[in-house]
Symmetry: D2
Subunit: 471 residues, 4 copies
């Protein structure tokens, strides 16, 4: 099939090369943005008298009929036409005649594909922002629902100090709040209009880029045409955002997998989020959590791939940049699924609160409180630490818990211990005592939930504003 | 040497393990932040009556004398003391006695190291922001200085359309402007105060985290103690920022290497930025540009390393996170060097303007203008493209340039060609004609320089504000 | 639809989760291997009397009819059935009744999918090995065809010393020879039979794994069942091989892009391997080379993705490992295309030999020879280097080439110069003089071609041997 | 300070650039290889009559005295001299006069640094091979020592089937055996001699590369001079090897961290391999395992860094390639430490065998055996799976174990159950029953240990052979 750029060529493209260099198999997902961009472009050309009004009307009608066909599933894409832009333009000319050839006046595929990708990503950012927000809501709800459940807090996967489950859940909430902040940064740098950059240097036609930006509800226009066609920062920044977000979800996944194990037994996932084994009838595997953890690698890979692609490329457009899309699309799909499944997974997850509390009772995670007890009686912290360290060693040798020591035993380590020590090292007391800002005490957690609620309300309003730019 | 946490241990650490787990060889670079943080902590403990005023005074005096020793080069670090925190605290106690042991009340190394890293990175962000801004200034100056130099613009490394060198330089300016925007995002999420999170759950002492934040000029306090000690987002986000920035510099480097080649000969670098060969006496190699391009890989590697480290870690602190620092430090050093050397490299780079213009004259990069000429006479763009494509093929077969065709030859391709065609395809005319917003015409480039100047002024004011938080 | 593992579950899988955890959309590509593996397993079960002979016959017939359906395009895959294994087994039971349920005796999906992937990769290694070999043949042919073409050799993209084009081509040949060696290592570690490992611990049935290995033409059997189901080394090693191979192709691509530029004009690619521009009629872009260079990032990404996935996973199988396949499949497709297109691209690439030679004549790449001339007259190399460096500086200031200096000028730099100096620094003489083993002289290049031919013959025999294990 | 290549330069290098491009701060570690390579080169030059015998003697004596100074710590490195090669050569000339300048005849820094790195890596491969082998020995010893300990085997971190601890340990052994195989591949492609390639094209002197190879005990000589100076495959392949090895160690680390948790309590690490907390006196953290897991990210980062550096570089040497060394050196150090510490960590790790067995007794990991029991009585596997799945669900609802069901209860699920069922699902019986090749039965494990021993003996002999090439 003859190419739209074939004039200078004496020979056709190799068929295998055609397939290799074609992007239609994945960029067809941009059809709606491509058509919306072309309509805005046609309107602008007419407004600027580059084409006649009736020509613009014909073009727009033709484009809308193509969109209808695509959405009805009756449009057939042709890999020989390389990409979504050429597929649509070729069909347009078949349908409305040579005037279709006027649509590509004053633009190039370089700025056209940049426009489509910006439009597409903007829309997905809004969707992802909402899903992120919804997961935060689910976390907040989960924290509130179980606001009195005590569990061991860990460092180095060793029990460290007792905490509230709600406090633990809020740790993830505040990670996601930062992710939302990063997503806003991506939005800001995606919300820039590249059309009019032409191949790289601008165009000789008297166009109006601000008009196109307004039509398509962009907040800004690229200031430099070369930059406009070769910039992939916004995709890289999105992939960075996604990598850090997935990293957060991978940490949560790791914990849910741990908590679901026989050894922890802190939670039970809903059957709907697990699968079984083809051979072991007893198995109930936390597949969803494992898969989200696994898919983190995939997103890192996409980030690394595009960083590598972009490294050392001379300006402006190079074919290498066509590699930007598949990784972006797959990242969008993966992030959306992960966010949505996690909201429902958390909701369906049952806590085994007695087991969690029992875990706290069986360990030494109150040792810090025992040291703090001594400090409050005047011992420098370092000496208090030493005293308690020795007590723990003694307990380990005697197979006792700290709460099982007699006052005499306590006092053999330090004369400062008194009868109130046993009260001071109860789990509930330890939790309540961590009442500084951001700490795990019920009072602090309640306040943190309130702050979270305020942040989420502000997020929702940001999302709603961005959503209004939908075209 | 006895550890500060040794009470519970029956046996010493293996010496090789000590070396392996020790971080003092690289985290000593945080000494100033560690001491500033400890002083603020001591003041707060006194203010909150956790320790006595005179105790705080003793501690502060001791810390300041240690800082003096470190800066005088008379302090010896000990790897058995694991890290900068323990090195300083141990010495403090040796110097001021057991009261030194009170400093660690109500904090843990987990929140302490987080505090130090936040403080350190904040300061480096200001420095890097300034250097980034200075490089932008150098680009703006370079663009202005050579505002009339015409060169070929490239896509696919094939000559595409004539452009101004200044326009090309501005493409990089606007990339760096986005980098600056991303750096502000990093700042925002670095400017959060973690101290008071304790090991992970907060502390049982009546501390005042807002007071510490104020003392250390932080804009915000972490809302959740678990998050505060396990968050490494801000480092990852900084590494992402640095990766994209270095990607930009790698593109510029690639171009400077190309331009310095015998084949291009567009620029000559200053001897000060080149090195020679041990064997080939004629060589003058653009080493600096190559090394910056190469060091891009190193920064990508640091990003990938920390993403990998953080993936799937259960909350809260795990020793794996100690791996955050070396990559961060090396990234800071590399970015600072790259930015600073590039400002002077650009300044010292001489353009070979006649050669650049000559290149434009020898090629077909005016073909688009020839097609636009036909469009303006009424031909649909697609047909105009075809006509010009055939003309180019004809020229190639005849070894001619487009400017060497006779009118008869032009008209053999389309009757629309007239005598004004030769004027229309002169390089200067082509450049001037791309006069839409963001295009390469001298008028547009002048306006872009003005916009750039405005952006840079705003950046400087942002930097100055951030610099005031220096402690 | 009811799951094959549903007995223990009180509730169905969430539909979205089903889609998320399903792999049938990509693992259907393993159908042939899955069926071949099942047939071998069924034969073995019969041989070991675990099932009856006639049961095995029924199962095998059923499997073959399913394979026929798949290949006829009449088999419909169901995502609710999760993966290729369950899709086939379910259909088998529908077709031959409950005896189909006996096929899964003494195996698990864990060892089954491992088997399929090993079988699949083995076959693709043979194909890729052949394609790699064919590209090497094309390089060898290209080197031989242009065995007398002289071009500048570069370091730092600065002209360094004259070389033969054939010598340059052979540099790539020997890189690919190492790639072939690495591919053999991948083969060795892929050619291991995992079936019989069961879920992770082996099986309670008296099976014969060596029999299965023989049926499926494997060279070895996994020694440890846990390792057999959790090993993904062979995929990682393949991805590493592919990354290094693509890195090599990216270097060649970079050079072909440079050589195709107007500035170099060393080669002209066939129209069949280039594409044009939608806006610039004169453009002929080396898309294939750019795309191969770009796709290098994609392969690096797949490697990084799987390394990340595998990091820190406890034994044995975890769902994360399902992420191994898409990256593997895409890498296989990309590598195959890149190898095959490059063989034809090189064949179709025309050299502009006069331009290449002219480039050598216009530069200082004979400066080393001028220094060597002095060394042979007794000057220590370091002093000779200094003398020539000064001569070059003088030439640059005088806008002369070394070959344009008078004898008097030569002697002003060193009295050792004599009339034979002009002969000594001719390009042909410089090339001929580098006649040590592995050097660029025609004699050495001829010998290297001979060695290459011998290596390629041995490769072909290795490939043929491996190909015989095809099932 | 004047450069050895300064003749052509009118101006000195910028001081900051000097520091930036200098590599002496890290490549000084190659001094021994550099001197050994220079000695071999000098001998060869004398043998080939390029320099006189007495000149070679002077040079060699000078080099040896420099080596003595370096080893005595009395040699001062100068960053203005860029690298180890120039540092040594400059000193040589200071010491023995202008004849020192003859050493660099017929070589370049490009082939010289390649030689040094090959020599260095070869030596480290031998060391690492030995350490890898020693860790395998430690695993084998651990497996043998605890050959009767039963523990739960996991998939998806859910208890799956009972296994022997020894079997689990052997899974790691066989991973490391593959790592050893990969290391041999690295050796093969590192054991190639690049010297004589000169800057890129060979040399005009009548050198004898085979002689140098023999002197330095190389197995092969690079066949192509351009390839010889630009090849970094062997480093990339080493980094790939190291990445996969560290991935294996990260998996083992994850398990040891899990096993050390209060929830698992399967093992107790020696105090010597743990550290405590500055605030929580009870803590005993598995730092070494965490740090090895964390350092995996670092190695992945080094791999990604060098892959990125090498991507798209034109031939031959480019300064970017200087970035190959720091990552390599750090990888070598990290791998060596990880291997050595793990051998001792495993040795010091105490198993809590009763707890492990108890875990098996408390779960449903015998469910597969219950299904196999039914299969052996004639039920198709799929139906048996269904029956057992229902039994498990019943037990969960009744809070019973399978071993606590009455015969009547068993028979309510299938009439095929008989009194022997309780025996069939005992942990010991389940383990013993998995007696197929590579399974977990004691007999199979004993045989696997024997096979392992044979493999290790062969490895040792390979290492010993390679060690003989030490220079």
């Amino acid at each position: 099939m003859s190419k739209l750029w074939g004039g200078r060529f004496a020979k056709n493209t190799d068929l295998a090369v055609e397939e290799f260099t074609s992007s239609i198999s994945f960029d067809n997902r941009l059809y709606k943005q491509d058509i919306a961009g072309s309509i805005a472009h046609a309107k602008m050309l007419a407004k600027c008298k580059v084409i006649a009004d009736e020509e613009a009307q014909q073009i727009i009608a033709g484009l809308l009929s193509i969109q209808a066909d695509i959405e009805a599933g009756t449009f057939s894409f042709d890999i020989a036409l390389e990409d979504i832009h050429m597929n649509i333009e070729k069909r347009l000319t078949e349908r409305i005649g040579p005037v279709g050839g006027k649509l590509h006046t004053a633009r190039s595929r370089n700025d056209q594909v940049a426009l489509d990708t910006h439009l597409y990503l903007k829309q997905e950012i809004v969707t992802i922002g909402q899903m992120l927000h919804d997961l935060e809501e689910a976390m907040l709800a989960k924290a509130e629902k179980h606001s009195d459940v005590i569990m061991p807090g860990y460092t180095h996967l060793q029990r460290a100090q007792p905490i509230l489950f709600a406090h633990h859940m809020l740790a993830y909430l505040f990670m996601l709040v930062r992710d939302f902040g990063r997503l806003q940064g991506v939005w800001e740098r995606t919300d820039m209009m590249p059309l009019g950059a032409g191949a790289l240097a601008g165009t000789t036609f008297p166009i109006d880029r601000q008009f196109v930006a307004q039509e398509l509800k962009f907040g800004a226009v690229y200031d430099n045409s070369i930059d406009a066609v070769s910039d992939r920062d916004y995709i890289l920044e999105f992939l960075s955002f996604a990598s850090i977000l997935m990293m957060h979800l991978s940490r949560l996944s790791e914990e849910i997998i741990l908590w679901s194990s026989a050894e922890f037994s802190f939670v039970e996932l809903d059957d709907a989020h697990c699968t079984g084994s083809s051979i072991m009838p007893q198995k109930k595997n936390p597949d969803v959590a494992e898969l989200v953890r696994g898919k983190t690698g995939r997103i890192y890979g996409h980030l690394m791939a595009l960083l590598t692609v972009a490294k050392g490329l001379p300006l402006a457009y190079n074919k290498d940049l066509q590699e930007d899309k598949e990784g972006l699309f797959d990242t969008i799909d993966t992030v959306k699924f992960s966010l949505s499944v996690y909201a429902s997974l958390l909701e369906g997850m049952k806590l085994n609160a007695p087991r969690m509390l029992d875990a706290v009772r069986q360990d030494f995670s109150n040792a810090t409180d025992m040291a703090d007890y001594l400090v409050k009686k005047g011992l420098p912290f370092r000496q208090a630490h030493e005293v308690v360290g020795k007590s723990v060693l003694y307990c380990l040798e005697q197979s006792k818990k700290l709460t099982e020591l007699s006052l005499a035993e306590f006092q053999s380590f330090s004369a400062l211990f008194d009868t109130d020590i046993l009260e001071a090292i109860k789990p509930e007391v330890c939790v309540n005592a961590r009442n500084s800002y951001g700490g795990t005490s019920p009072q602090q957690v309640r306040q943190a939930i309130e702050r979270g609620r305020g942040i989420l309300a502000a997020q929702q309003s940001t999302i709603d504003t961005c959503r209004q730019t939908k075209i």
